[in-house]
């Protein structure tokens, strides 16, 4: 077994550390990590590496099959959609949308949830009780309803989708942050800081947050897949990222009615979602195992 907690902290350790880390992974994890790197790279480089304009259609090249099928064209590797837009380019642009949503949602939900959870755990009492009932409620509230409502009122928008998904996911951080804070709240060093006159805010910032960070990082990792699926699902329903932006979910929705004649419209973006989410989930589980085995299987 490899030294358990080192892999998050070792991030700045140079080539040797990266090599040791790579060696400590088994094959499924290596593939997953490679896929994740491809996803991030593609998302970041998006506009510079798309072979065609993801938004512009070429009516003469409508519904072209993938290049390896009869009638395919190697300049459109994954084929084209009903407006003649290149599917590969749209998938690349979709990766950028997915990643942006992930980063924003996890940042917002993470900060909000951590704040609420830490406050509840640190101060306890009625404050804890009220906040935790709120968490219980939010933890199992069907997000999609909120999204539908917001979309019905103000139409689908990028901001709405960020708000909706953040509102669903903050509670997991809150619950974890509270539990971890409770564990260390009465440690000697926290008491010492308190008696030496440090303010509550300073104690939370200097002593509590650094100690609960690893557990929160695990939650964040486990949430990446959830965010991608939620964003795709909402966009599929037409209440997520508004068209013509090529979200993976709306691409599947576009291709739905062509499933019998042009299967690649659905299959290509769908496979992109499945492969990315599976890779992220595999890595998340592995990270959770290393940082805190008790989390495994308890995170839905």
């Amino acid at each position: 077994m490899v030294d358990t907690s080192s892999h998050v902290r070792r991030s700045g350790g140079g080539i040797g550390a990266i090599y040791r880390f790579w060696k400590s992974l088994d094959w499924p994890l290596r593939i997953a990590l490679a896929l994740l790197l491809v996803f991030v790279l593609v998302a970041v480089l998006g506009p510079w590496i798309t072979p065609h304009d993801p938004l512009k259609g070429y009516l003469r090249a409508r519904l072209l099959p993938p290049a390896w099928r009869d009638g395919g064209d190697w300049s459109y590797v994954f084929g084209t959609d009903r407006l003649g837009r290149d599917i590969l380019s749209r998938i690349i642009a979709g990766a950028r949308i997915s990643l942006t949503v992930c980063v924003l949602v996890i940042a917002i939900a993470g900060v909000l949830g951590t704040m609420i959870g830490t406050v509840a755990g640190y101060f306890g009492g009625w404050c804890d009780r009220v906040l935790m009932r709120l968490v219980d409620l939010a933890l199992s509230f069907p997000v999609i309803l909120l999204a539908l409502l917001l979309a019905a009122i103000s139409g689908p928008s990028f901001t709405n989708i960020i708000i909706v998904i953040s509102l669903t996911l903050w509670s997991q951080y809150a619950r974890m942050a509270r539990g971890e804070t409770l564990k260390i709240r009465n440690e000697d060093y926290v008491d010492l800081a308190r008696t030496s006159g440090l303010s509550d805010l300073a104690i939370i910032r200097r002593h509590i947050l650094p100690n609960i960070a690893p557990a929160l990082i695990v939650i964040a990792t486990l949430q990446v897949g959830i965010v991608i699926v939620l964003e795709a699902s909402l966009s599929f329903l037409g209440v997520g990222v508004p068209p013509p932006a090529p979200s993976w979910g709306s691409m599947v929705a576009d291709g739905r009615s062509y499933i019998a004649s042009a299967w690649w419209l659905c299959m290509m973006p769908g496979s992109a979602i499945v492969i990315t989410v599976m890779a992220v989930n595999l890595l998340g589980d592995a990270l959770a195992d290393r940082i805190n085995p008790a989390l495994r299987g308890r995170n839905i």
Binding site: R133, D136, L137, L139, S140, F141, P142, V143, I144, L145, L148, L149, L150, A151, A152, I153, S154, G225, V229, A232, S233, F236, L237, G238, V239, G249, V252, A253, R256, I259, A260, W263, C266, M267, G270, I273, V274, V277, M278, N281, L282, D285, R296, G297, R298, I300
Partner: protein
């Protein structure tokens, strides 16, 4: 025990009230119901009349109280598009289809998920365990809208074994229920597997074996009942997942339930119906959570003696 149930019930009522306020505020503050209802071609006089008819010229508190008392009386307004029917009628007509689909999916996932989780834990690191872990990974990674389309393509379009859509016979349930259930199946399998592994390593399992009980009793009574407690705690979440899934699955398979009603109402900008669906589902959801809380107390005797 009754005290806990009473406290939970009061909390549920407060949650319902909070939800109604949120939904009310969302509908009145962020949007303009008059513009929504009348559309673009309305005259100024129409707008003023409708504003008065809807009571929108009154103070917001009074508006909320009217909204609440109407809602309690089952009046959620009338559909803008579907022949001006009361929104509640539309929902009630669609509810059985949704509940039966969710019921079939939940029953299927509970039975299969628990079986799978138990066997995977008992045969730890065997082929079955590997298969269970794979299913858990796939179930949590494949979005239901895509799964539904793929299943429909393979089993209905290509193989022709099952209908692509429709409602009424048992064949119609297979694909939507499988799609709706896969995520929960994966979650329950994972949960049961990990808590069974924990239980099987516990001292009370050793004592049960020391007593000379058969493996059947040790596993299916002593270990499983303890492992079901975390499953019960997650029932509320599963219910939420089912509702979220229902909107998607009903849309994919053209299932005549309230999920699809919500979706269609949004496309038609039929705001009273959307609002009513959200309120009804939220109430169902809060009631379900209340039942889960009470079930939890019934199952776990340690909860019972807490004040």
């Amino acid at each position: 025990m009754f005290r806990i149930a009473a406290i939970r019930a009061i909390e549920a009522l407060i949650a319902l009230l909070l939800m109604s306020i949120v939904i009310f505020l969302l509908s009145r503050v962020t949007g303009d119901p008059v513009a929504l209802l009348l559309g673009d071609g309305a005259t100024e006089a129409d707008k003023i009349k409708l504003t008065q008819d809807l009571g929108l010229d009154q103070p917001i508190i009074a508006q909320y109280l009217t909204f609440l008392s109407n809602a309690l009386a089952g009046d959620f307004g009338r559909s803008v598009t579907a022949g001006n029917q009361p929104a509640l009628h539309l929902i009630m007509a669609r509810l059985p289809a949704s509940l039966s689909l969710a019921g079939v999916a939940l029953a299927f996932t509970m039975v299969v998920g628990i079986l799978f989780g138990v066997i995977a834990a008992v045969r730890h690191n065997s082929i079955i365990d590997f298969a269970a872990r794979l299913i858990a990974l796939i179930g949590q990674s494949v979005p239901s809208f895509w799964l539904g389309i793929v299943l429909m393509y393979v089993f209905a379009v290509q193989l022709g074994w099952l209908p692509t859509s429709g409602y009424g016979q048992w064949q119609h349930y297979v694909l939507p229920a499988a799609t709706l259930g896969l995520f929960t199946l994966a979650a329950i399998t994972r949960l049961v597997r990990s808590s069974m592994l924990e239980a099987l390593g516990s001292e009370y399992i050793k004592l049960a074996r020391v007593k000379g009980l058969s493996e059947r009793v040790v596993i299916w009574k002593h270990a499983l009942v303890n492992s079901l407690i975390p499953v019960v705690t997650f029932m509320g979440t599963f219910f939420a997942v089912m509702i979220t899934g229902a909107v998607i699955v009903e849309t994919v398979f053209s299932w005549p339930g309230i999920g699809r009603l919500a979706y269609e109402s949004i496309l038609a900008r039929d705001f009273p119906v959307v609002q009513a669906v959200v309120l009804v589902i939220t109430s169902l959801f809060i009631i379900a959570n209340l039942l889960v809380d009470i079930l939890y107390v019934v199952i776990d005797p340690r909860m019972r003696s807490r004040g």
